[in-house]
Amino acid sequence: MSSLEIRDLHVALADSPEKPIVKGLTLTIKTGEVHAIMGPNGTGKSTLSKAIAGHPDYVITSGDVLIDGKSILEMEPDERARAGLFLAFQYPSEIPGVSIANFLRAAVQARMAEGEELDASGYYKRLYSKMDLLKIDRKFTSRSVNEGFSGGEKKRCEILQMAMLEPSFSLMDETDSGLDIDALKIVAEGVNAMRGEKLGVLLITHYQRLLDYIVPDFVHVMYDGRIVKSGDKNLALELEAKGYDWVKTELAAV
């Protein structure tokens, strides 16, 4: 079993480090667990996931992030990825001129030892089986990464990458945004198929809807840069029924 430990994390924009966005967040995710972080817009959910992945726009002002007790903050984004971290982007980049097949092959190859050759036929076999699972047309392999994709196609492509790279921890940033219900079901099926002892998931979402399809083990409410409430899947339902104002009122009462 592996663990991703977020310890009293403070994050700000690199351009304005004096204005914290994440303000002391602590959370431990173990492989086999699915955690959901819910919260209103602007509360720092996306900042949290991008900062953990090493996005250069963000700076971690204090605290630590550890995989199996080892800090990853000194690592470059690519090293963090090879250490087992995966970020499913809310807005995946379009990269004209880089085909999905070449992109994924480079990512798979980066995880292999120096001088080790990729088995091309095995790679394509695996790629096609994951694509079939996610109902992605095989013709997509020759298309440029995310270029001209619909919202649903982009999100399915993120899940495809996750399936191919088999991370220990996946941070899924608003994976449900921009998806109609059919696309949402396909994405959820894909994630559910990967659930198991080898994968820990952090679902970041604004809406409870996603959690109907990917049922979390733990639900955390994030507000103003920290986790203010934690519980099981019922917390999400309660939140859906009462709205985020309920959390604010409760906080004000404390």
């Binding site: 990825a81 990269i95 001129g97 992109f103 980066a110």
Partner: protein, 436 residues
Amino acid sequence: MSVSSLSPSPTEGLSSARFEQHLSQRSYLPAWWLEAKAAAWNQFNTLPSPARTDETWRFSNLNTLDLEGFELPEDASQHIPNLSAFPHAAEIIFSNRQLVARSAVPSDLLAKGVIFAPLDEALRSHGDLVREYFQKLPANLGSEKFVALNTAFTGSGAFLFVPKGVEIAEPFVVQHTLSGANKATFPHTIVILGDNAKATLVEFFVSADNGRHLASGVNDLHAGPGSQLVYVGAQNWSRDTLAFQTNSIVVERDAKVLSLNVHLGGRQARHESHSRLLGPGAHSEMLAVTVANGAQEFDQRTLQTHVSPNTTSNLLYKNALLDTAKTIFSGLIVVEPDAQKTDAYQKNRNLMLSDDAEANSLPGLEIQANDVKCSHGSTSSRIEPEQEFYLQSRGIKPQAAKQMLVFAFFEEVLNKLENEDLHTALRTLIESKFKK
């Protein structure tokens, strides 16, 4: 051993004595050819060297055009390149100006009247045909002196003639290789497509070692009515090479020409390309990709001349610049008074991978007709940080991620090649520059 290896010979270097020797070695060639060479040698000696005040040499480094010490190799050297690995119709290989290998033109093509031969051979077997097209419409974009030098000394290069209605899918290949110190080569390739013919010619220009080299290459590309020509010229000269390449592209009615120049090597490499759209429906696709690193200078001068109505041209030159490299792009679209309904585009895109690199761009339009669509533009951009992060977030190392994005930048150009094998071969060649 030759006498010259023992004592300095008056025929060394690109001297008049050496020229006379070169001419006398070719006495078996047609008289008109020898006269053209003699005239070119005079022209070379008469024409002034490029000067600071020449608009066609604006931004170019003029202090490094020194031809001193270069000599014409007479030995094929030890270096015999391999035939190309990708499928091709036939191939001709020159090493130090000598024909060292060739693969035979398939008999079915010979039966149809296809000619693919070294220039000297074609001069003997099809002299009148060569004469009709040789420098029929020269490019004249500033390098006339070096083109004259090419005519004076050329002896290598290929002649491709594809008769009316003959379509050939696999490319013809020509390789030019130089090795040894202070060696020079002057290849001249001529391609003639008859009505509705279809063919591809690929030329590779390569140094086999790090020697100081001089190359001045010239092409006459002639696409007859309704024909389709693909020309690829890829150079990977040594880092101590002064290189010139001048393309003249003539496109007749309803013909289509795609020309792609790949620039990798050289200390200073100048490329000139002139497309003339002579008949209605003619189209010229002018493409180039350049990887400029170290202190390399790549100098590109282009002209799209629309002579007839309803002609189209599309130029896309992409440069990736690293280190302290420098590129110059100067392109002009000329629409002549009769060329109504012209549709002409010109784009120069520079990917700046270093703060110390320098990309100069001089786009121009000269429109003498009133019903045309023309646009030009140049951009300089950097690698998109969001794309770089996206690749790295998948575990791809920074250097590899950067390289992928540079290739992505080139892909818009390389994708225009329909021949997949050729596309792959060029990609591999470009990759080799990043692996050094």
